[in-house]
Symmetry: C3
Subunit: 270 residues, 3 copies
């Protein structure tokens, strides 16, 4: 594995070690399906989770947190009010925040919110190719056909990163993270990660934990991605069955060293 | 085990195999306690979960899903609006939907909603004897005394199936599924299934996954019931302790073949 | 281990045995992050969970439950209406209820609600030193500095217990439970209990299960605390990794006898 430009395996290892040393508070305004798994994943990684949705409180907490996650998975108009308050608090205090536009595209409430929020300056936008595609082309979204080649998909990610002046992290067989200029690919990870609900949602929260300890958002997103992928690889080796895989994944988040994650992540930069 | 009429072990195995091949999308408007377990159970079974409650989106998603689950476990008036939208979307698109009237009887909000929804044509109504009894006798509900014999309970189930022109699936020591004419009994399963929260709620979601791949609603409910019961039996053999049982149950949902489930389900038809 | 005054290891064992024999219904109006874990923990302990938030139903269910838990972890104004209804139902029927003022202090909505609810006569208030400190000094709250000595912290707990004529259960390296006169300390338990989300929240629910079977609220809180701490010790011995610890914790809640918990709890009374 070779890393070029200013993003090395040592950088990735250092971010992971710093999360464990600093235990940053990550406020998660996220979906009800994955809240428990997200909290346990953050605890296993050494960070401190907090889930506060109420608009009376979300902004205040975000302003003192290390990072904020906005995940649209089960958003309602009531929760959207808390998200707006949380984002305002984060922006006012200079706290980095992550946007996960879950399942946007056809569903109108979340799609509108995703465009509204993306324009407010998230540190990272995390999603799959379909979700990132729905953010491209201004408010319309041109979508990403399932027959799109990896190169076409990468082009859309870079475009969205440029449009919103953010880092885009796109999940897939190879995870791709781009700020529109540099592109990081993480080729580790396995299919079982897609068979446990909330792994992607947790990844967004973990990007928050990493963004709390480094100003380099591309590095934060890459470190979190490698962490999840290498933990998935370890869990697959140490478990049989999809139920045990989820348990072993939490173990691995905790037990892998920063160096093991950085070295095992199959990370490349272009 | 002998199956008579048009519901054989081969039919059950075929439904299970079809769920895994087609991976139907099951939209679950369900309670917050079991959403995570339901999603992981559907993934383990090979289906695709989606939990979208917002009334702005629930109908649209239901109209493109393979099935819809309506579970009243933690219903509020806000969630009920999403349920109404979801049901309307399902009906408009001919998508089968399952009603789980959790804990109805004395609690007024959910009891009113259960009667409202039951009259709208669910493919299956799933519950325990007390819940099904609360749907009998029109809007009043006569209840099912805990001293009722299995024959009396079966009579109530058949009556409710007839009243609402639906299939009723009633959990118990022996699970009973009836369309008012044919009755299927599934005698497998074990007590540990009642000591993990959300197994019954997940069963409703799995009935949706099965109903997405066969128009025979009695068969869909029977296949899902056998799937859960035989997975419970396998999990009990492969685990010690109630925490590990829940983990092993997810493993078993994934690993058991359609034939193993159909043959092991102790299914009988009358 | 020696217990003085009217709280012995035999008392603790008896409460635990009674929970398993009576299987009390514990209504939990709690946060969405921990609802699943709380329900599975109660089931493992032999109690019966119910989570009903809707204001139309919460009071009715509380009035027929064995106990009610009010946990402010993800409270919103909508959920607060259900909490008020639940508390009113519990008070009207003489049902004991537990207040867990999660993360109060700086966050305004929950802090106001905690003071409102604490004045209504909870059987037990459960929290960490910071949360209990925020309830001291009337409506203002003087807080508990992280540099406070154990003796200073104990003084605050006794003051809050006196102010609200309740039992205060304060989590920490040594758990402390006081009614302002008697003080119980539980010195068992381990750090891994703080690395699984919701253990403290579940402890509040388990205090409800215990309060449902004894009028001695100090004893109820002490028995539940010992139960969780000793189960944590057992789980730590029988697992490696933080994911497996959570699974083994549920096993241990179920498998430990009342005597094993009482004898292993390192309980002292002063």
């Amino acid at each position: 594995m070779t890393l070029e430009s200013a993003l090395t395996t040592a950088d990735i290892a250092a971010v992971i070690d710093r999360v464990r040393a600093a235990s940053p508070l990550v406020q998660c305004i996220t979906n009800t399906v994955v809240a428990n798994f997200t909290a346990n994943g953050l605890l296993a990684a050494g960070a401190a989770p907090a889930m506060v949705d109420a608009p009376e409180e979300a902004g205040l907490l975000a302003s003192v947190a290390g990072a904020l996650l906005i995940n649209l998975g089960t958003v309602t108009t009531a929760q959207a009010a808390g998200m707006r308050a949380g984002i305002a608090g984060a922006i006012g205090a200079g706290v980095p925040w992550i946007l996960d536009p879950v399942a946007i595209g056809a569903l109108p409430l979340r799609t509108g919110l995703a465009h509204e929020f993306a324009a407010l300056g998230p540190a990272v936008i995390r999603g799959n190719a379909s979700e990132i595609g729905a953010l491209s082309g201004g408010t319309g979204g041109r979508g990403v056909d399932s027959t799109a080649t990896p190169d076409e998909v990468a082009e859309v990610a870079a475009q969205v990163a440029g449009d919103f002046a953010t880092v885009v992290a796109m999940s897939g067989a190879v995870d791709l993270i781009t700020d529109g200029t540099r592109t990081v690919r993480v080729a580790s990870g396995n299919d079982q990660l897609t068979r446990v609900t909330g792994v992607g949602c947790f990844l967004g929260a973990l990007m928050g934990a990493c963004a709390a300890v480094t100003p380099d958002r591309l590095l934060a997103a890459a470190a979190a991605t490698a962490w999840v992928c290498v933990a998935g690889d370890r869990a697959a080796k140490q478990s049989e069955g999809i139920g045990m895989f989820a348990v072993a994944f939490l173990d691995a988040l905790d037990e892998l060293s920063g160096n093991e994650i950085a070295q095992g992540g199959a990370v490349s930069v272009s």
